[in-house]
């Protein structure tokens, strides 16, 4: 089953396209999208691996409550992907455990 581009073909003009880096790979997103929307639109469902059992997690509540879609953004861990808009050149890393502060800068 493939989940390539899940952007709905509705009568909507999206924001201009921009690129972000996800785990070092270039991903095209639309200005205004949340990080979670951009990841999910390209079929990327994992945002992090948990600290205790290492299992994958992703977008769940979609409204900033559950804290499951945490990613590391420009070196800052524990950023909610569902509440944070993409920006040109943003570096997003899927997060392991509680995140690694050493990555920053």
């Amino acid at each position: 089953m493939t989940l390539d581009d899940l952007r709905m073909a509705a009568a909507v003009e999206r924001g201009r396209t921009l690129s972000v880096l996800v785990d070092g790979q270039k991903l095209t997103a639309c200005e205004g999208e949340s990080i979670a929307a951009a990841l999910l639109a390209s079929g990327r469902r994992f945002t992090r691996w948990t600290a205790r059992t290492g299992e994958p997690r992703g977008y769940f509540c979609g409204m900033g409550v559950c804290q499951d879609c945490l990613v590391t953004v420009d070196g800052l861990p524990n950023v909610r992907a569902c509440m944070t808009p993409v920006r040109e050149g943003l570096r997003v890393e899927t997060q392991r455990g509680l995140g690694d502060w050493a990555v920053s800068q």
Partner: protein, 465 residues
Amino acid sequence: MRTADCVVVGGGPAGLAAARTAARHGVRVLLLDENPELGGQYYRQMPATFATPDQATLGKESVEGRRLIDEVRALGVELRLDSIVWGIFDQRIVALATREETERIAARTLILAPGAYDRPVPFPGWTLPGVITAGGAQNLMKGYRVLPGRHVLIAGSGPLLLVVAHYLVSGGAHVAGICEASSMRQIWRYAHRMLPHLNFVQQGYRNRQEIKRGGTRFLTGHVIRRAVGGPEVTGAVVSRCDDEWRPVGGTELHFDVDTVIVGYGFVSSLELPRLAGCEHRYEPELGGYVPIRSREMESTVPGVFIVGDGAGVAGSAVALEEGHAAGLAVANRLERLLGRDYSREASRARGRLLHLAGFRRVMDELYRFGPGLYTLAEEQTTLCRCEEVAVAEALEAVRDGATHVNEVKAWTRVGMGRCQGRMCGPALSHLIARATGKPVTEAGIFTPRPPAKPVPLAALAHETH
């Protein structure tokens, strides 16, 4: 410390309506929301960078929301978006933070409109990526026009299931099944009482016909049993349930899907009202705690008003009226709307709320939450998503003598993580009640602590004045 005449927390229907009414009467309003856009969940708007030639194609709630947001902006309400309210101190001192800095504001009047979130229901596989809440699915589709998946099972209860299915189908996804927990008999019992609200019934009916044509199985009296797959979802199992939504063995049905959407109603966000010291009582028919309020929507803390789904889930029509009533009360308190003018406006608002109360009761009964849902989790099912604590660990604490959610928290770390127990709290109190045989009220609810939501330490270290 800055002072403000009126601070409204939450930019959904209730908060927007409150801000509009207060501002119309000349009150200077400061409106806070943690989202980048106003609207909350129900009125969720697309980002400002998105455009559409015809807003009407986005649905009634999007159009209504746009109008209300534009009015609030035109009235000069001061906005702080992307700002998390992480604490309320000394009753009306509001602490908010961006990623960079924090600020405290002393509010002369405070209107809390924190809203609600999807009732979290642990079941085997509920942490797999690809299992998402109905609210989360809505936000993705309404807010960003992105589908959560291609082959979808929807399980839950209430009219939102049909709305979600409608969005999925219109976006080109295949909805394999809609699994409604209420039985057809339960739905029919109240159907005649819905006649005064034909608009709503018709909308549901139209959606349902449209969905059936796409080959969707519509099951009533069924609940989700498990999501299967690994590392992401590849299927789901549902089964029949009884009137309390307890699953019935031997009736399992399997669906091959890449996405499972779960929506068993909503629970109020109680953290901010409780941090402010507002008293709550348990309402069994609402399946949760609601604040004690005067008819002006004032809580037990003077000058603190609570409106909308955060004060008992009743939907947007009630939220708008409650927000309006609180906006009037605040204008009166700040001497902007006095005497007969206030009495007249306030009594009209009360009349409209009374009219809506009938509809509210029907909805409460029709979509009454069945506590049998909390038997879906098995011993090894994750209860606390943040701290990764299994149901068995919590039950062991109960066997060792814990009777209150706060005790289980201290012994097992359930509810101690970043979501502050929002995801596991409702299930934990029901698990304790079942294990001890005592009423769910005796298991209690977690004590909220600031920060109500995680904020960067760097922000706390940098306070603006």
